[in-house]
């Protein structure tokens, strides 16, 4: 092994320039791999964070995925029972016994929950109308499960608690209706019930649809307005670990019977999109390493061709085919190890530089930095891929070296 290493190093150092070019290929490949991967994964994490932070991790709806079992089905569980024209009871819709269910949900580890009664309403002001989703909330609970408090630009969610006739609306509505804090607007429910409310808070999320179509009032106020006393129709849940959402949602659904949708379930399309994006990204950055592998192949191939006589004499002397193969595989390995090491260093520098880049998206006043992900697995992946390319690139020349017949070469040389 020591001899193989000596010879391999001697070969590589005797062709410094070509070795350096091959090495540079690997270094750049690994560095770009890391830079692109950290940026893509960073933006993915950033995107997911926004997705996860701005939407509930789990929403429990006042719906069931499967209709309630009918008495006939319960009585003859094994029979082929066909019950037709089943209609739900005419009753006030909502989650039944929600305080108990909320208690159960809040007792789960790492769970924060807030009851909400959401319904459609129309906001009228000075003869203009705008349909909104009216959410009745308990302010101190709502603050724990949404980022709405951070998005307040005037007033606060807590003001609702102080003023039962208060309403919190978005910047979009404020602009549309030329409102301001303490303006009075009329809210009309679907059944015609109307009530004047006073603006006690204004939020801005940056999502125009939300900023124009969402309003918050006190839970009791919403219940009264929508005619659904003592009911809520959803429970919004935030988890300490968002990635537990799927299993927690299943637990809640199993226990309460109500449809519980995790953010994972709700954003399946986006998650699969991110997966596709990752596949594309890794294909592209891997291509760089494949190109680098050709450089290594070229170098080691040239060495094998130039050193055919050396290979022949070493074989004549008593070196096995496998010894010679090992020499050239080692050359690939050395380039791979050095290239990966230096590539990771350069990659870290690139990532640091990219992380410093400040951009200002059009129409937004705040400066944002490129999101960089520093996770360990991308280094492992880059190194693994670089090593594989280097070994694959050196394998063919190594095999050629192993199959050299000394006599063929000696005869030709004499």
């Amino acid at each position: 092994m020591a001899i193989a290493l000596d010879v391999a190093l001697a070969h590589l150092t005797s062709r410094k320039r070509q070795t350096l070019v091959s090495l540079t290929g690997v270094v750049l490949g690994v560095a770009f791999f890391l830079a692109v991967s950290s940026l893509m994964r960073g933006s993915e994490k950033d995107f997911l964070k926004r997705l996860v932070d701005n939407s509930p991790h789990i929403t429990v709806y006042d719906e069931v995925r499967q209709g309630r079992a009918q008495p006939a089905e319960l009585r003859w569980p094994d029979a082929a029972v066909n019950v037709r024209n089943v209609k739900p009871l005419r009753e006030t819709r909502g989650i039944r016994g929600w305080p108990q269910r909320l208690e159960f949900i809040e007792a789960l580890p790492g769970v924060r929950a807030a009851p909400v009664l959401a319904g459609a309403a129309v906001l009228t002001f000075a003869g203009r109308q705008q349909a909104v989703t009216l959410s009745g909330a308990v302010p101190e609970k709502m603050k724990q499960v949404t980022t709405i408090e951070e998005k307040m630009i005037e007033g606060s969610l807590d003001a609702l608690a102080a003023d039962p006739n208060g309403i919190v609306i978005g910047q979009g509505l404020v602009d549309k209706f030329s409102l301001h804090l303490a303006s009075s607007v009329n809210v009309v429910a679907a059944d015609g019930t109307s009530r004047p409310l006073r603006v006690v808070g204004i939020f801005r999320t940056g999502n125009a649809g939300y900023d124009e179509g969402q309003a918050f009032v006190l839970l009791k106020r919403a219940q009264a307005l929508l005619g659904r006393e003592n009911r809520v129709n959803r429970v919004i849940i935030q988890l300490a670990d968002p990635y537990e959402a799927r299993s927690t949602a299943q637990t809640i659904e199993a226990a309460t019977g109500y449809k519980s949708v995790s953010w994972v379930e709700a954003s399946e399309d986006i998650l699969s999109l991110l997966l596709v994006r990752n596949v594309i990204m890794f294909s592209v950055v891997s291509a760089i390493l494949v190109v680098a592998a050709f450089g290594i192949y070229n170098t080691i191939s040239t060495i094998v061709m130039e050193k055919t006589r050396d290979i022949a004499i070493m074989k004549a002397m008593g070196f096995h085919a496998r010894d010679l193969k090992r020499i050239f595989l080692l050359e690939g390995l050395i380039v791979g190890v050095l290239g990966s090491g230096l590539g990771v260093l350069l990659g870290l520098v690139l990532m640091r530089v990219l992380g410093e880049v400040a951009i200002r998206p059009p129409g937004v006043s705040e400066v944002v930095h490129l999101p960089i992900w520093w996770g360990a697995e991308q280094y492992a992946l880059a190194i693994l891929f670089a090593m594989l390319s280097c070994l694959a690139a050196s394998y063919l020349p190594a095999r050629r070296a192993g199959s050299v017949h000394p006599v063929d070469i000696l005869r030709g040389a004499a």
Binding site: I3, A10, T13, R309, M314, G318, V407, A414
Partner: protein
């Protein structure tokens, strides 16, 4: 034939060896050769160009395998040896000197010589270098140990190649026109060294040569014409 019926068995015995290169028109390199070479003998193989001298040498050196016939070296029938066994045999018991020195350009002289010793693995790396240095000194290359082959003269390089050939203390040294590329002074030097190996160390040397002065030193001269042994052949 000299040595036949002597007390010690011949170091090399060749029996009806033929080597044919397969192809559309098969080429016979060596045909029906029978030969015995004794331990410590200095044998020169001579013949016109393309007569099959080198091919015979490659067969004797186990670099090539006969199409037909058998070769015994040191009492072992090498017929049917696989590549691994042949390689190990060459490493431990045979040494080669070629017309071109074939030294590894990236290694110092002493490293070139210690390479086969390290490969054999009987000595540690330091001891291998030590032995290589002793061999170089014995061949008059004191003070040249750390030089690269390119920094030496042709005669010096060939002496390094000889040192490498005898590094593992082989039984037989096979030389393919070892003086073919040297000036007369260096040639004389290499001749004397090879002859000295047989006289002082009881090594067997088989050398292919065109050099009449070289052949004159040999214990025996074997002529080869068209792949067959022709004892009547004389250079000229």
């Amino acid at each position: 034939m000299s040595g036949a019926g002597s007390a010690t068995p011949p170091i090399i015995r060749v029996e009806n060896v033929t080597r044919t290169l397969a192809g559309e028109v098969p080429v016979t390199l060596v045909q029906d050769v029978n030969l015995e070479i004794e331990r410590g003998e200095f044998v020169c193989v001579m013949g016109p160009s393309g007569s099959g001298k080198s091919s015979l040498l490659y067969l004797l050196g186990l670099l090539d395998m006969p199409t037909r016939g058998r070769i015994w070296i040191d009492g072992e029938d090498t017929t049917g040896f696989d590549d691994d066994r042949l390689t190990d045999f060459r490493l431990a018991r045979l040494g080669y000197v070629f017309q071109f020195h074939f030294l590894l350009a990236e290694f110092s002289v002493v490293d070139n010589v210690s390479l086969p010793i390290r490969k054999l693995g009987r000595l540690g790396d330091d001891a291998a270098r030590e032995r290589a240095a002793q061999l170089l000194d014995r061949l008059g290359l004191e003070g040249q140990h750390e030089k690269r082959p390119s920094q030496l003269s042709g005669g010096q390089r060939q002496r390094v190649a000889i040192a490498r050939a005898i590094a593992n203390d082989p039984l037989v040294i096979l030389a393919d026109e070892p003086t073919g590329n040297l000036d007369s002074v260096s040639s004389a030097n290499v001749r004397d060294i090879l002859r000295g190996l047989t006289r002082e160390l009881n090594k067997t040397v088989v050398a292919v040569t065109h050099d009449a002065q070289f052949a004159a030193l040999a214990d025996r001269r074997i002529g080869i014409v068209d792949g067959r042994i022709d004892m009547a052949w004389r250079p000229g």
